[in-house]
């Protein structure tokens, strides 16, 4: 797995990008140096039992990794843990564990790659886009609203990513109306390419089908409720495709994942 750290990391910035979506920058030199795109960290949002806050750490993908020792998280406020995160003032420290899990494998760069993100699944895809640098790729992003499109554009433009952007939004404003898997299917027909994807489970299931049909491989980043993040508790099970005959077989999203090849997973 490589090195894993638990560090008190100073929050450098914690900014609301739009209603309910925040970007947090942290000083975390060890983690930044060891991490690769697709890996995640676990953030402790609570403190001592009675003093309050949640018990378990919360998992977040690494959204940006930079060589000057910073990491970023892009997160959506869902419940108590992310609400607490949203209220953290810059200057304070958060205890972060990471980097964790298996990230994207983009060593064997093909001629062409398609990056596919839906909603907050954007978080790790920006790190990947950044790391892929000027390799030939297209970035497919499916937003719900035009506001999300704006946020995406602002984020991607901060990176040196130079590939083509293909945008959809559910409201059809500022981007093609519909789901991002629509244009993706078209692109795959025109030019098959390996896929990297993160987003809602239904989107990923569709990506898996498209990949199979196009005869390309897809790496997808999955989510699961997690307790330890280290492979010890077996909370974060995802059923493997292999388990069909002999009963189900599970993998750990935190350890064997969060990035899986689509064909490994039972959808």
């Amino acid at each position: 797995m490589g090195d894993v750290f638990i560090k008190n990391c100073q929050v450098l910035e914690n900014r609301q990008l739009m209603e309910g979506t925040y970007l947090m920058r942290l000083r975390a030199p060890e983690i930044a140096a060891a991490a690769k795109p697709g890996q995640f960290v676990m953030v402790r949002t609570g403190s001592e039992p009675l003093e309050g806050g949640p018990l378990l750490r919360r998992p977040f993908s690494l959204h940006r990794l930079n060589s000057s020792g910073e990491i970023s998280l892009l997160y959506r406020v869902i419940g108590v843990g992310t609400r607490i995160m949203g209220g953290v003032e810059p200057g304070r420290e958060l205890e972060i564990m990471g980097p964790l899990g298996r990230g994207f494998d983009f060593s064997e760069a093909k001629e062409q790659s398609y990056l596919v993100a839906g909603g907050i699944g954007l978080a790790p895809m920006i790190a990947l886009a950044e790391a892929m640098g000027d390799r030939k790729s297209k970035f497919f992003y499916g937003a719900r609203t035009s506001k999300e499109v704006d946020v995406f554009l602002a984020l991607i433009r901060q990176t040196p990513y130079e590939g083509e952007l293909v945008l959809t939004s559910e409201d059809g404003l500022k981007a093609a109306k519909g789901m991002v898997t629509g244009p993706l299917a078209v692109a795959l027909e025109e030019e098959p390419a390996q896929l990297f994807a993160c987003g809602p489970r239904l989107m990923l299931a569709r990506v898996a089908v498209l990949a199979r049909e196009a005869g390309v491989r897809a790496q997808v980043s999955l989510e699961a409720n997690m307790a330890c993040g280290l492979g010890a508790c077996l909370s974060c099970a995802v059923e493997r495709a292999s388990g069909e005959e002999s009963g189900p077989v599970y993998s750990r999203v935190c350890f064997e994942g969060p990035v899986f090849f689509a064909e490994e997973v039972r959808w």
Partner: protein, 307 residues
């Protein structure tokens, strides 16, 4: 002058180097958390519950957080006895870890077979019997809810095992002392408690159970007061040594269990919150002993004063 306190724990047939164990199911096979917690430094590592055959476990979601606690329904996913002996145990033995094997059978015979398989293994210091499994032959209630079934399981395991045998009690009974007494009479060397409390959570928005398995086991700080009470009752009822746990997050929590009468503690959910938790608890106990000039931790055990 502050000297190093004696932290050893005398369990009769076995002496632990210190009183902090990692609880079954919360520390994997010792290897997973090794980056943060050297398992050899602990009083012992109780490995994930073993069944005779490999077991896939329950479909997800398997955990959910609750107020000061969590529910799990892992469903005993484990590699099975053979793979454990061949692939997991050697790593632990090599590092001099005090290994406690937690076993669970669906029938009395399976318990016996597990004990036999482990009995031959070098490097398993102790066997912990998990009696929380539904006793299919007896209508689906857990073995551990009945003194008779518990005694039955203990008897066959004690007979088959070479190691000291510890029984881990289920909290959800009306009289824990009856179960503990039955276990000791059947030959158990040590009692450990508590296992998780059967519980449930739902997802209001989706109108569904939060766990796919509907019911799971509650652990964490929420259950500590229940665990302390059960340890208190059992230590007063039986002479056998007791290892206590349930919601231990800090050294103070551990010291409370010891004060109430436990000779050692098991740290569970805390390992998820912080994989260094067990070590920190151990260090905290040591620091407390020094501060209070406790030369021998065993003098602290059961030191609770009642008027």
């Amino acid at each position: 002058m502050v000297t190093q306190p004696d932290m050893r724990v005398d369990l009769g047939k076995l002496v632990l180097k210190n009183p902090v164990l990692a609880a079954s199911g919360t520390f994997g096979y010792g290897q997973e958390m090794a980056d943060f917690c050297d398992p050899a430094l602990l009083g012992g590592v109780v490995v994930k519950g073993l069944t005779l055959e490999p077991w896939p476990g329950n479909p997800p979601p398997r955990i959910v957080e609750t107020s000061a606690g969590m529910l799990n329904s892992i469903g005993l996913e484990n590699v099975g006895l053979d793979v454990f002996l061949k692939e997991k145990l050697p790593w632990l033995v090599e590092r001099n870890v005090t290994v406690v094997a937690n076993i669970l059978g669906k029938t009395v015979d399976e318990y016996a077979a597990l004990a036999q398989g482990l009995g031959k293994a070098d490097g398993v210091a102790m066997i912990e019997i998990n009696v929380s499994c539904p006793n299919v032959a007896a209508g689906g209630l857990a073995f551990g809810t009945s003194p008779e079934f518990t005694a039955q399981v203990v008897r066959v395991v004690v007979q088959a095992a070479e190691q000291p045998v510890m029984v881990k009690l289920t909290p959800m009974v009306s009289d824990i002392t009856a179960v503990a007494e039955a276990a000791v009479q059947a030959g158990a060397d040590i009692i450990s408690l508590i296992n998780t409390i059967p519980a449930m959570a739902v997802d209001l928005e989706n109108r569904r159970p939060a766990l796919k398995n509907v019911v799971g086991g509650l652990s964490g700080p929420a259950i500590k007061p229940v665990a302390l009470r059960l340890v208190w009752e059992v230590t007063r009822a039986v002479d056998a040594p007791v290892i206590g746990g349930g919601g231990i997050m800090t050294a103070e929590d551990a010291l409370e269990f010891l004060m109430v009468g436990a000779r050692a503690v098991q740290v569970g959910t805390a390992n998820f919150v912080d994989p260094r938790a067990a070590l920190k608890i151990l260090e905290g106990i040591e620091a407390y002993c020094k501060e209070k000039s406790i030369q021998d931790l065993s003098t602290w055990v059961g030191s609770l004063k009642i008027d």
